[in-house]
């Protein structure tokens, strides 16, 4: 295949391989030029800042029950107060760290597991491949939230259990795509030479194959993160988290238990809910942009004389 931009020209007319590998410097330029990517990055940076320096934004103690309960938003309390008289905005900001931390840890572990399974299946082939593929398919079909609830009801409530059950149910999500990529790389020359050198399979997988898949891994990470954010919050919302831990999901649970929407301060529920939505949207925007950057066919089309795909 020819390199450079001319390849994109011919590829745009011929059938193209969906996941084209993208060089780093061109990639950064593409990210900067893509509106969705920029929006996603901005959102994530803001949230990361709140996670890293909560004290700078909300100096109050989030759990101090010193204010009048169920106040609506005002300048003193940007999101009002809870039933117990805590400042909602403070709670929100201080909950960012743990929420983000859980999301990232689970996404990293799940992506890593996905990769190991997918690439090993692709590289080993034969029976190993069949077995791993079946296992992956099984986990893909099992309904996620019911399984999460089932597992979480019997573990001690808290972050550790949350991370554990989320990892168990999410590793299969991207394993298929990573396996496909592994298959396409399998027969390349540099791998053959590694085999001939006598390197062990695990070495080949980790050191030779994985680095070629960095863009796909990053995309998988992002796609996963979108769902992890939602699932973690949903689990806690249903009462399977530890309500004394500072996370957006537990805030939602507490708010729902106090019927905040109907009888109290609705922003106690809407605030953390919006935060969860925002974090999910940030990852989703980046993911969307990633798809466009990696697959030229999906990129925005400048409207020509006729505004249709087929003229």
């Amino acid at each position: 295949m020819a390199t450079g931009f001319s390849a994109d020209i011919e590829a745009a007319d011929a059938t193209s391989d969906a996941q084209a590998q993208v060089e780093p410097h061109r990639f950064l330029r593409a990210v900067r030029g893509n509106r969705k990517a920029v929006a996603g990055v901005v959102i994530l940076l803001v949230i990361a800042f709140a996670a890293a320096f909560p004290g700078l934004i909300a100096p109050d103690d989030p759990q101090a029950t010193i204010y009048p309960p169920n106040l609506l938003p005002s300048w003193n309390h940007l999101l009002g107060t809870t039933q117990l008289g805590q400042d909602v905005f403070s709670q929100l900001i201080w909950s960012t760290r743990l929420t983000l931390w859980v999301t990232l840890i689970v996404s990293v572990i799940a992506t890593f597991l996905s990769m190991i399974v997918g690439v090993t299946a692709a590289y080993a082939g034969g029976v190993t491949d069949r077995v791993l593929t079946v296992v992956t398919d099984v986990f893909l079909i099992l309904p996620v939230l019911p399984l999460l609830i089932l597992l979480a009801s019997y573990l001690p409530p808290g972050v550790t259990s949350l991370v554990l059950v989320l990892c168990i149910t999410s590793w299969a999500f991207q394993a298929r795509q990573l396996r496909s990529q592994g298959l396409s790389v399998r027969s390349r020359d540099f791998l053959v030479s590694a085999r001939v050198r006598g390197e062990r399979p695990m070495y080949i997988i980790l050191v030779e194959i994985v680095p070629t898949m960095t863009s796909l891994l990053a995309a998988s990470f992002l796609a996963l993160a979108v769902y992890i954010v939602g699932f973690a919050a949903s689990l806690q919302f249903l009462g399977l988290g530890n309500s004394s831990e500072l996370m957006w999901g537990t805030m939602l649970y507490n708010a729902q238990q106090a019927a905040a929407l109907e009888a109290g301060n609705p922003w106690w529920a809407l605030g953390p809910g919006a935060a969860v939505a925002l974090l999910g949207a940030g990852f989703a925007l980046l993911n969307y942009a990633f798809d466009e950057i990696g697959n030229p066919a999906l990129r925005p089309v400048r409207r020509g004389k006729r505004g249709r795909a087929a003229a």
């Binding site: 099992l142 939230l145 089309v301 795909a309």
Partner: protein, 323 residues
């Protein structure tokens, strides 16, 4: 055909996996919880209690493997155990099933229709206004967890505007009768929950349908169809949309698990007494047999849909036929 046989095999393996998950969970519970949970059950007749003990691995002198086979045998003979209140699990499930089936069934169909139409249209008219706003919007919205959509809808339409009721599936004190007014009451209550689910599910489907459609439009055979002088409408339906939808039918069926999860959250949020709400109360009550029964039920439901999608694909896609 070999293809269907392989899928049937996957069905069995997944079913087996779900059963085994159910079996293992009470045995890895920390401490003596299993016995404690069992102890909290009320009004359970001795035979059922015995079956539960086997399921939980409590008070038996059998080994793990023997218990496992008795457990499987019980399931095969239709004994799914009883709930913490002594009601047979199957009875509970079948009484709540219609409500969830209605909710999830209708929303899935609507979401599929919207997703396909919008996805196809936005891909066909690339760069147009539709393509500019709708798919990214729907994609972002679908990445938002379903409970937030529900929360917003409740707050805006039920609390603030009072257009729709706050929860439940029909008004307090009304008796379920097949009258138009009751039907209207049901629809009134089901509207917001259904809307929440449709918004989230349609968004997902639009995104993948649009991308598949774009890739299909770029194929050479669509170009050939243009070169032959076929009308745009013909090409869009007969060459592009059909080829974009069919291979993805199975993928869509596999997303059903996510929809089911969403329904659980929505039913909880709206106090809608369907299977999802049942699952939630079972989890807070630590009613293991009920949870296990529901989990099994959900898994089978997804498997059946996947198999149906596979069947349709096998029938309609000529590539699955051997030369």
């Amino acid at each position: 055909m070999r293809y269907l046989a392989r899928r049937g095999g996957l069905f069995l393996v997944t079913l087996w996996a779900a059963l085994t998950v159910n079996f293992i969970i009470p045995r890895v519970m920390p401490g003596n919880e299993a016995a404690a949970v069992l102890g909290s059950f009320r009004g359970v007749n001795p035979a059922a209690l015995h079956a539960l003990e086997i399921q939980f691995g409590v008070n038996t002198h059998r080994g793990l493997v023997a218990s496992y086979f008795v457990y499987l045998h019980n399931l095969a003979t239709g004994q799914f155990g009883v709930t913490a209140q002594g009601v047979p699990v199957m009875t509970e499930i079948s009484s709540k099933l219609p409500w969830t089936l209605g909710l999830v069934g209708v929303t899935t169909v609507i979401a599929f229709a919207i997703g396909t139409i919008v996805g196809v249209a936005s891909a066909w008219w690339r760069g147009g206004r539709l393509d500019g706003i709708l798919p990214p919007t729907l994609f972002i919205v679908s990445s938002v967890p379903v409970f937030f959509v529900g929360l917003l809808l409740i707050y805006v339409f039920a609390v603030k505007l009072g257009w729709f009721p706050l929860g439940s599936n029909y008004s307090l004190g009304a008796t379920p009768t097949p009258t138009p007014s009751f039907a209207w009451d049901v629809l009134d209550h089901a509207f917001l929950p259904a809307l929440s689910l449709v918004i989230v599910t349609a968004g997902l489907w639009v995104y993948s349908m649009r991308n598949n459609m774009i890739t299909t439009i770029a194929e050479d055979y669509v170009k050939t169809a243009r070169a032959k002088g076929l009308t745009d409408r013909r090409i869009m339906f007969d060459y592009a949309a059909r080829n974009a939808i069919l291979p993805n039918l199975t993928g869509f069926a596999m997303q059903l698990g996510y929809v089911i999860g969403g329904a659980i959250v929505i039913e909880y949020l709206f106090s809608y007494p369907g299977l999802g709400y049942l699952f939630y109360t079972a989890s807070t009550d630590h009613d293991l047999p009920l949870m296990q029964g529901l989990f099994l039920f959900y898994t089978i439901a997804v498997l059946v849909c996947v198999l149906i999608a596979d069947l349709i694909t096998a029938v309609l896609d000529p590539r699955t036929r051997e030369a």
